[in-house]
């Protein structure tokens, strides 16, 4: 059990290094002179030279890359030019919004999709299955940022129940912070919940059709008991894989939804950094978001080994 875990951690580290190299090439090497890209075409020659020196661009690219990686290992991500503060501090502030937002959305996805998908499979072909099928088909088609706008229209400006945007900071207390994340989290979660509902349904149907479920039924186990004892645990492996993959859609969605609701999160930071051509921020934020997605998928992979004894022997 220890060896496969260590192997996977080593693989994870190598993957991150490869991703970092790819990001570095795209953001730092290919655009040519980073300093003049950041300052725009109208910048004066001495300003560009000063920034070039400040960013250490006079050194060759491989040395700069190693410098970035070495700095990261020390917890030093460099200095943001536009925000005039360490990128590490900036990112930590933004993570305090994006991580709770994504976690809340993921929880909503799971809470809605697991029972709905199972219920649809249990009622295969009958009215509840058809209704859940139609609703989830509609849910998949709706853009999360549009759902955000509609929520603002209905629940903020219309009914005045929840704030239309902005974030008071966790210093203002747990409830005010959470309150301003509710609408964005639902906007982010509902389309993904629709996706997962469909997957839970088909994964459950796959298991229901197998021999051991028929055996359980033949032994006299009633419909619901057979479903909970034998079907749901066996359907969980494919479902958790998809749930892990959905995180990458939730993060992509966070970039959009944070913009709808004016939330000072990581996604909005990445987007703003592009508008401000702050390449130091872009490469760090993109790497961090990619690292989160890859790490969660690696964790899901490991979790499945715990969930399904068969996977332990095979690998």
């Amino acid at each position: 059990m220890i060896r496969p875990i260590l192997l996977r951690i080593a693989g994870f580290a190598l993957t991150l290094l490869a991703v970092a190299a790819a990001i570095f090439v795209i953001v730092d090497v290919l655009p040519g002179d980073t300093a003049s890209v950041m300052l725009g075409t109208s910048a004066r020659e001495d300003t560009v030279a000063a920034l070039r020196a400040q960013l250490g661009l006079d050194r060759p690219a491989p040395i700069r890359f190693l410098g970035w990686i070495a700095g990261m290992l020390h917890g030093d991500l460099g200095q943001s030019v536009t925000y005039a503060m360490p990128v590490g501090t900036l990112v930590a502030e933004r993570l305090a919004v994006t991580v709770p937002l994504a976690a809340l959305a993921l929880a909503i996805v799971a809470i809605l999709a697991l029972p709905l998908g199972t219920a649809a499979a249990a009622a295969h072909g009958r009215a509840p299955d058809r209704v859940i099928g139609i609703v989830s088909q509609l849910g998949v088609a709706v853009p999360n940022f549009w759902l955000g706008l509609i929520f603002v229209l209905v629940f903020a400006t219309g009914l005045n129940w929840l704030p239309a945007g902005g974030f008071p900071g966790w210093g203002a207390g747990l409830w005010p912070g959470l309150r301003s994340l509710l609408l964005p989290a639902f906007a982010l979660a509902l389309p993904q919940a629709a996706v997962l509902t469909r997957i839970v349904r088909s994964a459950t149907l796959d298991v229901i059709g197998q021999d051991f479920v028929r055996t359980a039924r033949a032994k006299g186990l009633a419909g619901r008991a057979a479903l909970l004892r034998h079907v749901v645990p066996n359907a969980l492996v494919p479902i958790t894989t998809i749930l892990g993959l959905q995180l990458s859609f939730l993060i992509a969605g966070a970039i959009l939804v944070e913009n709808v609701f004016n939330l000072p999160g990581l996604g909005r930071l990445a987007y703003q950094a592009l508008a401000q051509r702050d390449l130091v921020v872009i490469r760090n934020v993109v790497l961090l978001l990619a690292a989160i997605v890859i790490a969660v998928n690696a964790a899901v992979d490991l979790g499945q080994v715990a969930l399904d004894p068969r996977l332990r022997r095979r690998r």
Binding site: I251, Y271, L274, L289
Partner: protein, 272 residues
């Protein structure tokens, strides 16, 4: 033999056909010039000026929506075709070769797939400048690993068939067998996947244009219209509703068409 009509195929096909027709018509004719600014007519409600009202510059919303359909497809179609062509070539090749190369490429595909298209678009925006080219490449990059996986799985299925063994036994090489036996027999699966990925691409394009990373204004796009509508949300809610419905209907149509085609092409899955 007359089979029970496939409702997903019918509804999805109709919606997709409507989307295509609107996009084609918009290239030749729209009720108004979509970019014409008419300040006296600004923020008019539906029917007060034009069928769907006007925006904050007095531009005709219906005309913008129509051209938006064409612009949405102008990003979605090339990006999916690019991703599908590359991905299928790689997937079919590794299914023929197998071994360490296959494992290594699948690993890389997993990592690329973990990269959301919006994130790639932001990175490519830093490289190429935000715009349609960066958007097409970002969506294409996201599609490559999808098609690598799908086409590899499909190709492996075909490789196990007796007629492929027969073709091999007469001494034909893997490249020749892939061309004449493997690829034609996985076309159905690929067509279904292209349709489903087109839906996702329309959705992604709307998001990218919303952020200003896709179609450049004043060329109208559904995403940009939604971004503009935000400032006037309580004054003119129709501006936020119409483009969102357009995206949702386009995506719904393509998804249903994909589901319907899957059922039609693979009767074994019909019970699902």
């Amino acid at each position: 033999m007359i089979r029970r009509a496939n409702p997903a195929l019918l509804v999805g096909g109709a919606l997709t056909l409507a989307l295509l027709l609107v996009a084609l018509v918009a290239l030749a004719w729209t009720p108004e010039i979509p970019t014409r600014v008419r300040i006296p007519l600004r923020l008019k409600g539906p029917l007060a000026a034009g069928l769907l009202g006007t925006d904050h510059f007095g531009r005709d919303v219906l005309s913008m929506l129509m051209l938006g359909a064409a612009n949405s497809l102008a990003i979605a179609v090339p990006s999916v075709l690019l991703g599908a062509t590359l991905g299928t070539a790689i997937g079919a090749a590794i299914a023929a070769v197998r071994g360490g190369v296959e494992t290594a490429i699948l690993r890389v595909a997993d990592v690329v797939f973990a990269f959301p298209a919006v994130l790639s678009a932001i990175m490519l925006g830093a490289l190429l400048g935000a715009g349609p080219t960066a958007a097409v490449i970002a969506i294409a990059v996201f599609n490559v690993p999808v098609f690598v996986r799908v086409s590899r799985a499909a190709a492996l299925g075909v490789w196990s068939m007796d007629y492929v063994a027969a073709a091999r036994s007469v001494g034909r090489g893997p490249a020749s067998v892939t061309r004449t036996e493997i690829l034609p027999n996985m076309a159905g699966i690929l067509i279904v996947q292209v349709t489903v990925q087109l839906a996702l691409a329309v959705l992604t394009e709307a998001g990218l244009s919303y952020l200003g990373l896709g179609i450049r204004p004043p060329n109208p796009s559904w995403g940009r219209m939604l971004a503009d509508s935000q400032t006037f949300l309580s004054q003119a809610p129709h501006l936020a509703i119409a483009p969102g419905l357009a995206v949702a209907l386009a995506v719904l149509g393509l998804n249903l068409l994909g589901d319907g085609l899957r059922d039609a092409l693979d009767p074994r899955l019909r019970s699902r």
